[in-house]
Amino acid sequence: MTMLLQANELARTYTVGSGGKLRAVDDVSLALARGEALALVGESGCGKSTLGRLLMGFDRPDRGQVIFEGQDLATLSTKAMRVLRGRLQMVFQDSGSAFNPRWTIGQALAEPFRIHKRPWSRQSLTALLERVGLSPAFYDRYPAALSGGQRQRLNIARAIALAPQLIVADEPVSALDVSVQAQIINLLRDLQADLDLACLFISHDLAVVRQIADRMAVMYLGGIVEEGETLSVLAVPFHPYTRALVDAVPQPGKPLGAPLQGDVPSPLSPPPGCRFHTRCPIAQPRCAAERPALIHVGDGRKVACHYPLAS
């Protein structure tokens, strides 16, 4: 099966003020099939948003390549990239800053058509509004008239306007209240099924990820530590970090386990060997010396651990 999006051994290092090297993404390979929903999960600073930006072509990797529909993003001219953008869209967390407050909602929705020189009509734009559950009456109003949930719907409407093949959504529901969050999750799932849309969700919330993604990849300090089908990874995590993440989610009716100690080490000086060994409850001497590779362990699951948890 040809993949819609493929990332091969991506690495991106930033030089920070004091001359330090921050390895935001370190040797990450990933593939996304047509119509598939994949989630990138991890805590702040793990590199999930940087990876999302590399996959969108917003930023160039130092090493490795991103291949979208057979084309290497790095080899594309600005013009060719612009054409591709119509098929590759992004939704951000903060829908409040995504819109020009002085443009009407109709103008905001027409913008992608204008940029890509495609025809549109008031009718097609109101149909788009209805598609995401917004009243056509909003067409002549301003973004300020919308609530947070409605603004996120509008954001999604604009992202699907040009019928893209892939949407990258960076924390699309984390700024929303639970009841509104549920509405947006349902909408994203509907759109994904109806439009055969591939989605890459960047999220820290495992319960949300479980609801919207078929597959998930867990990142820690710039690398993927575990990957596999969402329900199976969350039910039986193989990597001790994934286990700790699942256990740390506060849930009704489940006692809180002993939390992981300490903080995530600075990405400016990641630990040698396995990146997680400094906080790992089952670390062995080997973990400090040798970095485990992300290897297949059957059932479409991959894990980067010398001593994966037994199922």
């Binding site: 805590e43 702040s44 609530s147 947070g148 949930g149 209240d177 639970v178 009841s179 509104v180 969050q181 549920a182 509405q183 999750i185 349902n186 799932r189 820290h204 495992l206 319960a207 949300v208 479980r210 609801q211 329900l231 969350l234 039910a235 700790a244 993440l245 699942v246 256990d247 740390a248 989610v249 506060p250 849930q251 009704p252 009716g253 489940k254 006692p255 809180l256 386990g257 939390p259 992981l260 100690q261 903080d263 995530v264």
Partner: protein, 315 residues
Amino acid sequence: MGSKALLSLRDLRLEHPRAGVLLDGVSLTLERGQILGVVGESGSGKSLTGLSVLGLHPAGRLTGTMMFDGQDLTHFTAREWQGFRGRRAAMIFQDPMSAFLPVRRIGAQIEEQIRLHLPLSRREARARVVSLLGRMGVPSPERTAERYPHELSGGLRQRAMIAMALSCDPELLIADEPTTALDVTVQAQILVLLREIGARDASVMLITHDMGVVAQSCTHVAVLYAGVVIESGPVEAILKTPLHPYTQALLRAIPPLSGPRPDRLPVIEGAPPAPNARPSGCVFAPRCASVEARCQMRPVFRSRGNHQVACVLYA
């Protein structure tokens, strides 16, 4: 309601001259040793409830009673508030970065608060700071006290802020979304700490939007909707048999982390009312699936078993 109640709010109502009615009948009780979760969505008035207890709410007409250990806080003078805040009740916030002054060392800031309220020498105050930071699980407390706020990680800053809040042995700690800005693994550490504090140091009012956080850290919970406490009771009872249709819908809307994955999440249609366009009857009626004619009248908040609930279904 025994006589042990540390804090008891009755029909607290806050009307802002421009924004409208922000709190509209907040009744809750916090007994000593309890951790009370005050849960609600944005704009439900949960933070305002916490701020009111410290006299820090925005200007407006505040009516009702706020009894704290036998005193009515609503009649406090500015001077009385000064001796109360930080000494008998203290508050921590979501963002510890903005609670500390960026240009002074953590230890010096906590020390200042201690010396403001307690007759201690500088050396005694410093010893207290170090022991407090140690008790809050801060590694090498002497060294950390010499750090500036930006030098600490988010989790450590939150621990330092809790240490500052507890520095004068308050009886009540109000924690407003203390873990919302933290990663899950760090959030779990802070929740464990808050539970220890509830058992050991002070009664806790934990303001949050997250039912999971309530389930794991609180003994009791009060659910707020549009400025009204619509249900309260012990945590297990509320989670197991929520009575109010809003509480039921809120719990259903949380995506599950185990078991079968639902095709669609149940949602609450619509949005909460604006403060200046509130329904005269039950505030949840416009979005409620079990709405009936009686809902045009504001339901009374009454006991039902170990719950208290404001809904005509249980009248």
